[in-house]
């Protein structure tokens, strides 16, 4: 059976869905199928063959009854010819059902192949597309919304291709093939048999739209119940401490009961729709039977024709309600297409575009020349007329309060954001002329509390380093980052998984993992975020040393708001509201009467205060 579908060659796993962007959703959906049109057509064609085989079964039944049974009955006894005929007819039934079943399988398999292949490459595309969208897109789009789209909407499209589109096709094919067959049996009989079809179709469409809404309400209540439950379970200490068990029970009872009631409404709708439409369709069937039977009695049609009719008409009438259901469901697929295309049409960040394509690493001279930056809303000036120069290997410290623009300034360097005016020169070439990919290879970022991935510590350290790392190299980096000994205390050493399923690391530990990674990456330019400091003083000295080693021979940008972390910098830039208010070395700035000295004085003041305090306690 493996030969039935073309699975031997792997289907393409990547497709640029930007080619499927179209204002007309149907055209768009068609284009999403690019490369699978033949397979999908094959699925529809097999469906038709299967439906034809089914119809033929009933026609064979007619021949069996009219040709063999009645004739033989008249002749009395079973002639040798009739006996042979009987064998052939029996064989015919088996053969036809092999056709029907076989092609139904081929169709199902081709449809599944198409739907699953499209879904796989859609998932791959979206994953890749999203990680290549600009930084500003990510900072303005909530994660939850993106996740919802790449999971639920992708699944809705999968169902569109695997069940709904093919299901609608199946019912329509069955209808027409059997309708034509009945028309051929008897013209009038055919038309009499479909009187109830249009009203039932309309009612079904109406009903399933209503049911969809009722079901959504039911699901909303289920979500509300989950929330109540989760809040109760996570807040168990509060519930117990305030002895609010009874109150909580009442609260839960309310949502639980409401869900029960909404379920009842949903069930009432179903339990009315199905039997009521059963009556209509049942009477349509009965009407057809009476009509056909009367004709048979009058001799207008044969008994065999009657029997064939009874078999065929079933496939005309009963699937109609499902057609209504499927049509309503396809609209969800359409909506999902729209929601996914909203992501697809976002412009990617070009990684390789640039006027220069240097091979060698940069030296690391950075010049800010009247740089200003504002967000795309064009209102808020984040940075204004920033100018300073850093020579290769030097360090520059950015000092300022939250919102002073320190972070925005360093975000310009790897071109996470683009400056609005002025120039930033790296080794004398404007930043915008370098490909982003190259620039980012030259830079290492160490954040205060970096995001780690839920993989092993080894994988986190080697993440994005860009070359294979030997165990020796790995351990050397971890030692230099003062994290090696810590890692060895974990249950699986370097293979210990970080996060929920493994160890939880403190902010300082996460930072050291990042330092180790940066050491392995060995960039020319370093961006250090040291804006808040943890209380974890035992390790602070170790981290300081690790950071100091890391900074050697690299151009370093330090974000800070404590004097301690900036004192040794070659250049200190004090920022306020996006502007430089002071600039110079530690000594120079101390000599000036400004904010820097104000902050510096605090340290001495704190020491004095502590001494004072201890003295006071000596009673």
């Amino acid at each position: 059976m493996a030969t039935l579908a073309p699975t031997q060659t792997t289907p393409p796993t990547y497709f640029d869905f930007r080619a499927a962007l179209n204002a007309n959703r149907l055209v768009g959906l068609w284009r999403m199928m690019t490369g699978f049109h033949w397979q999908y057509s094959g699925a529809v064609f097999s469906l038709a063959v299967s439906a034809l085989a089914k119809t033929a079964t009933f026609l064979l039944l007619r021949y069996f009854v009219d040709g063999v049974m009645t004739e033989a009955a008249v002749g009395g006894g079973l002639s040798a010819e009739a006996s042979r005929n009987l064998m052939m007819i029996a064989g015919g039934f088996v053969l036809l059902s092999l056709f029907e079943g076989g092609f139904a399988f081929i169709s199902g398999r081709l449809a599944a192949y198409t739907a699953e292949s499209i879904t796989r490459r859609l998932r791959n595309f979206l994953f890749d597309h999203i990680q290549r969208l600009s930084f500003s897109y990510h900072s303005t789009t909530p994660t939850g919304d993106l996740i919802e789209r790449v999971t639920s909407d992708v699944d809705a499209l999968r169902r569109f291709f695997s069940e709904q589109a093919i299901g609608v096709g199946r019912i329509i094919l069955l209808f027409f093939i059997n309708f034509i067959a009945i028309l051929n049996l008897n013209w009038t009989l055919g038309w009499v048999s479909i009187i109830a079809i249009p009203p039932i179709l309309v009612v079904s469409l109406w009903f399933f739209k209503k049911v969809t809404t009722a079901y959504e309400k039911y699901q909303e209540q289920e979500a509300a119940l989950s929330t109540t439950l989760q809040e109760n379970l996570t807040g168990v200490r509060v519930v117990k401490a305030f002895a609010r068990q009874d109150y909580e029970k009442k609260k839960f009872e309310k949502v639980n009961w409401e869900k029960y009631l909404r379920g009842k409404i949903l069930l009432l709708m179903h339990s009315l729709f199905w039997p009521l439409s059963d009556i209509v369709l049942g009477f349509q069937m009965l009407g057809g039977f009476i009509f056909a039977a009367t004709m048979a009695i009058r001799g207008e049609i044969t008994v065999g024709t009657y029997l064939a009719y009874v078999g065929l008409v079933v496939w005309l009438i009963w699937p109609i309600r499902n057609l209504g259901r499927l049509i309503v469901q396809t609209s969800t697929g359409m909506v999902s297409y729209g929601r996914l295309m909203e992501i697809t049409k976002q412009a990617r960040e070009p990684l390789t575009d640039g006027k220069v394509h240097p091979e060698a690493p940069v030296k690391g001279e950075v010049v800010f020349d009247n740089v200003s930056f504002m967000y795309s809303d064009g209102k808020t000036d984040v940075l204004k007329d920033i100018s300073f120069t850093v020579h290769p290997g030097q360090s520059v410290a950015l000092l300022g309060s939250t919102g002073s623009g320190k972070t925005s300034l360093v975000n310009l360097l790897p071109r996470f954001h683009e400056y609005t005016s002025g120039r930033i020169l790296l080794d004398g070439i404007e930043l915008k002329d370098y490909p982003r990919e190259y620039l980012r290879r030259q830079m290492g970022i160490v954040e205060q509390e970096p995001f780690l991935f839920s993989r092993s510590i080894r994988e986190n350290i080697c993440y994005g380093v860009g070359h294979t790392v030997s165990q020796e190299e790995l351990e050397r980096a971890a030692r230099a980052a003062a994290i090696h000994d810590m890692i060895l205390t974990f249950p699986d050493g370097y293979n210990t998984v970080v996060g929920e399923k493994g160890v939880t690391l403190s902010g300082g530990q996460k930072q050291r993992v990042t330092i180790a990674r940066t050491l392995l990456k060995n960039p020319r330019i370093l961006i250090l975020d040291d804006s808040t400091s943890s209380v974890d003083t035992e390790t602070e000295a170790e981290i300081r040393q690790a950071l100091y080693d890391l900074m050697q021979d690299r151009t370093t940008f330090i974000i800070a708001h404590r004097i301690q972390s900036v004192m040794n910098a070659d250049l200190i830039v004090v920022l306020d509201k996006g502007e430089i208010i002071q600039m110079g070395t530690h000594e120079e700035l101390l000599a000036q009467d400004g904010m820097y000295r104000k902050i510096y004085d605090i340290q001495t003041r704190v020491d004095d205060e502590l001494a004072q305090e201890i003295q006071n306690s000596e009673v």
């Binding site: 006894g77 994660t143 339990s271 306690s617």
Partner: protein, 608 residues
């Protein structure tokens, strides 16, 4: 995401049906026995009616068409019409009854579990992740309800269909009937095997799906790092491995399903062929009418299709039984901390509180608290300080009687506190947690949690005293502002202020606070300090303290290290001693002051 994985792992468990579990499952239906009887009787009637329809069809051919009797035709048609209406009535009843019963059983199970969870001790919660408990209440209940309603309905229907179908076939022609009966077990085995395989692939694909969602989540949250390290290509390659797994499982599940029906059909067709061949011969000998053959063919499908329903129910049943066992295990767990038989209500907590040689171990026997002795006079404020994991939280949990001492005693008013009822102790405690916990709903509702019958004015007074009023009135909707799920529409500082107000409103006799370590802005910090000050006035209080001002305000400071008291005394005494406390304090002092000052220094605009 991880909750999803937990649920998936549990779903893979299966259990055989044992008498005891079966009895308890049936027991769930006892209160609703009328509904059960109702839908079982109707579904049985539906099945009988279905076979009657086929029989009427047969009669229409044999008595109407073959005998050319129009009257007989109309008589049969009338019966058919009446039956159709009765049938519709029956369908209405069984859908509604079985469905509502399913919802009801789920409602009952959820209620049962939720109410039992409220009584269980904190130790149960520390051993069972929230995700697991959630899965128990939300999905396990659904699976059990499905089994005992729709599962039972499908099985009844299938058995009835097979029985009535067989009977009718035997009536029409017993030889042909036997041929069909022979095909039945083969079909059954095939159907069950198919179902099992499809289910396995289905679970694999759901597992992969869960991982895919996780990968998306991480890559979006960590996009800054991905970009900075230029790891896009490698990430895509890794992601493609996941989608490949997903593809393989889903594709296999889909084509197995596509193969299943045709297989059933073909087996049916072989049986059909035999009937045609054998029936043809019999017809010639006058043993079988044309209508009879036709009816036979109909009965054939009539008993073949139910087989797949039984197969489905059978495949899913084992998982549902595992679910039921987990549910029963939950409701059978007794609460570890509970009232003694002769427990009395504590009149007041404003008496001496004594820890007497208290030891505490978790299940793994690793001592958390050792030989802890402390006597606290009413109105004292005790600051607990020391490194994380030293045992501070355990002291607070024991004091609240969330846990009870493994060895030793805790006395309140000179009496072992386990002699008191739990409720009477909790009623007089006010607690503010390190990570404040709020519930969805308005600010007002959250504060009122402290005292349910408090008037609006009381709520606002409490908020004023706690220093929360100032920010609340600035909210768009004031006290009616929705705080979001778990309070996540508010900042950490705001959540702390609200939980302070909640404690103020409760008018506790004993106040317990676990101070937050994360920094909040200076203004909020000052407000929190003011609120705490108010709460502690005239009450006994225990604070796990991090802030200098709190520590200094304490009447006694207890330094806890490695589950023991390392030092104890007033601020001045301990500083003088230059020991553990001295080191902790100076370190904290420098850190906190520097932060306060440097933030403060940067706030005003420099004039130059």
């Amino acid at each position: 995401m991880s909750d999803d994985l937990i649920a998936l792992e549990e779903e893979e468990h299966t259990s055989p049906l044992t008498g005891a579990v079966f009895q308890r499952i049936v027991g769930l239906l006892r209160p609703h026995w009328k509904m059960v009887i109702g839908f079982l009787v109707t579904i049985a009637c539906v099945s009988v009616m279905d076979s009657l329809f086929t029989y009427i069809n047969k009669s229409m051919i044999d008595q109407g068409i073959m005998l050319k009797d129009v009257n007989a035709l109309w008589r049969l048609a009338t019966i058919y019409g009446v039956f159709q209406i009765i049938q519709a009535g029956l369908v209405f009843v069984f859908i509604y009854m079985a469905g509502v019963l399913g919802e009801r059983v789920q409602y009952d199970l959820r209620k049962l579990m939720f109410e039992h969870l409220q009584e269980l001790s904190l130790s149960y919660y520390s051993q069972n992740a929230v995700g697991r408990l959630m899965a128990r209440v939300t999905s396990d209940s659904g699976r059990v309800a499905d089994l005992i309603t729709w599962g039972m309905l499908d099985t009844t229907w299938a058995i009835m269909n097979i029985t009535t179908g067989t009977i009718f076939m035997m009536i029409i022609n017993w030889r042909l009937g036997l041929i069909v009966l022979m095909a039945l077990p083969i079909l059954m085995i095939i159907a069950v095997e198919f179902r099992k395989r499809i289910l396995i692939q289905f679970r694999l694909s759901r597992r992969a799906n869960s991982k895919i969602t996780g990968a998306h989540n991480e890559n979006i949250q960590g996009v800054r790092i991905v970009k900075a390290l230029g790891r896009e290509d490698e990430n895509l390659r890794e992601f493609q491995e996941l989608t490949d797994t997903m593809y393989n499982a889903s594709y296999r599940a889909a084509w197995l399903s596509a193969l299943f029906l045709p297989t059933v059909q073909i087996i049916t067709a072989v049986a059909l062929g035999s009937i045609v061949w054998y029936g043809g011969i019999q017809a010639h000998q006058g043993l079988l009418t044309i209508g009879g053959i036709h009816a036979f063919v109909s009965y054939l499908t009539f008993i073949m299709w139910p087989v797949q329903d039984i197969a489905r129910v059978y495949a899913e049943m084992q998982h549902a039984i595992a679910s039921a066992e987990r549910i029963f295990k939950l409701v059978d767990t007794p609460p570890e901390v509970h009232n003694k038989p002769n427990a009395i209500d504590a009149q007041t907590l404003m008496g001496r509180i004594e820890f007497e040689n208290v030891n505490f171990y978790y299940e793994d026997r690793k001592p958390v608290l050792q030989d802890f002795t402390l006597s606290v006079e009413p109105g004292e404020m005790i600051a607990l300080v020391g490194p994380t994991g030293g045992g501070k939280s355990t002291i607070v949990n024991l004091l609240c009687r969330f846990y009870e001492p493994t060895e030793g005693l805790i006395r309140i008013n000179g009496r072992d506190y386990t002699d008191y009822t739990l409720h009477s102790i909790h009623d007089k405690i006010g607690i503010v947690l390190q990570t404040p916990h709020l519930f969805s709903g308005s600010v007002r509702e959250n504060i009122r949690y402290g005292r349910l019958n408090a008037s609006d004015a009381d709520v606002e007074d409490a908020a004023k005293l706690a220093g929360a009023d100032e920010f609340i009135v600035k909210l768009e909707k004031g006290y009616e502002q929705n705080v979001g799920e778990g309070g996540n529409l508010l900042s950490v500082g705001q959540k702390q202020l609200i939980s302070l107000a909640r404690a103020v409103l409760a008018k506790p006799e004993l106040f317990i606070m676990d101070e937050a370590t994360s920094s909040v802005d200076t203004l909020t910090e000052a407000l929190i300090q003011k609120g705490m000050e108010h709460l502690m006035a005239g009450r006994t209080s225990f604070v796990i303290a991090h802030r200098l001002s709190t520590i200094k305000r304490a009447s006694r400071i207890v330094v806890i290290e490695n589950g023991r008291i390392a030092e104890m005394g007033t601020h001045a005494e301990l500083l003088h001693r230059q020991g553990h406390y001295y080191r902790l304090y100076t370190q904290q002092f420098k850190f906190q002051r520097e932060q306060e000052y440097s933030v403060a220094a940067m706030v005003p605009l420099p004039a130059d």
